[in-house]
Symmetry: C2
């Protein structure tokens, strides 16, 4: 906490800088994002992206990860800078530049996120049925969604949605949710296996009254590679 009377002065006016993060996951086969309900004005009671002001001595990436951790308890996920939004009127309080990120989180890491001080609630929302969002956050989500879908076709980003071990059918479901269309099972498997990015764990997954599926894992779980 800072002393109430302390201020920081500059020869020229400076904007405030924030980071905001679009966190994607697949819930029940639907692409969903994480939103927090704003506890304070402006846009009090509205849903918004998790985010907040940059500390003067922290890197942008660190800020995005920290805010996400503080507001939702989520950490250790794939995080990539998206775009910087800075029109003069985007925040009624003062001039605010928002450096936005998007993040991908595996399906199984869905410990229900906890709300922090400046959020009265946190929750996942189907990206096709979003509530009205605060500030220009709807625009940010749209851009993040487009970037994610585009990146499916020339990178291994989809693997970031997968837990440590997964089946090919599960991976196909992720692609189908993102592309919003069904894919041919044989062609999908051929393509994915030809990339040589995943390998069998040797174990099997038994669920339901049917043939068990082989488990796979990513060869380089941390890396998102550009392919082709």
């Amino acid at each position: 906490m800072r002393a109430a009377e302390e201020t920081f002065s500059y020869r020229y006016p400076h904007p405030a800088v924030t980071t905001d993060v679009v966190v994607f996951t697949i819930r029940d086969g639907r692409l969903s994002i994480l939103l927090v309900k704003r506890a304070n004005a402006p846009y009090q009671g509205n849903w918004a992206l998790p985010g907040g002001f940059l500390d003067i001595d922290e890197d942008l990436d660190t800020c995005a990860a920290r805010e996400l951790q503080e507001e939702t308890g989520i950490s250790g996920l794939y995080l990539e800078q998206l775009y910087t939004f800075g029109t003069t009127d985007r925040d009624p309080r003062e001039r605010v530049i928002s450096v936005t990120y998007y993040a991908l989180i595996p399906q199984d890491a869905l410990a229900v996120p906890r709300a922090a001080s400046d959020a009265s609630a946190v929750g996942w929302h189907d990206v096709e049925r979003l509530p009205a969002l605060a500030f220009d956050h709807a625009q940010i989500v749209t851009m993040a969604h487009r970037r994610l879908v585009a990146k499916l076709n020339y990178s291994t980003i989809a693997l970031q949605f997968m837990p440590e071990a997964f089946t090919l059918s599960e991976l196909q479901c992720v692609y189908e949710a993102l592309l919003n269309q069904t894919l041919d099972k044989r062609n999908f498997r051929k393509r994915i296996l030809a990339l040589d990015l995943i390998e069998e764990t040797g174990r099997q997954r038994r669920t339901g009254k049917h043939r068990p599926a082989r488990e796979y894992r990513a060869r380089h779980p941390e890396r998102v590679e550009i392919i082709k």
Copy 2:
């Protein structure tokens, strides 16, 4: 000009925000960028990207265009946001967040850029033979170059390098400079014409002692479209 004693105070420290621009063109069949020689500390005498501090009441895009105009006299070109750089130590004076852009300028628009107050010189530099750059500008150039080359393959961005009228051979030279490889003439023409993005002007270009080439123009010179 601002009164010397005027200052701007905030409850929390704010970073400074700048925009920097990587301006590309093709000179003599080589991809080149525009650099300014710094007139003041830090990095005085070093080459750097054109750019400068954001006015508190201007949009980011406007700032990038304005700084470019002020420092080099260049305006009206294709400008796209690239990435935001913000590590804590990238400027020795104070915490500075740089929202970077890249721009493309046609070959014939090469009125020699004029240097402004805070630049002692301005000049084009072959992107393969750059001098040492100030700040983290080398990193910015690398990222811009990569983005530009990637975009060649799925957008019509190369047309932004072309003057109002151009020949297919000239356009092919641009692709070859960017990809750093020669292309088959017939396949190139087939591909470009199939996209239906350019049309004949009806005129011809006579240069040298050989058959004149047909002139073409872009159907939508302002637009950069995603293709395929």
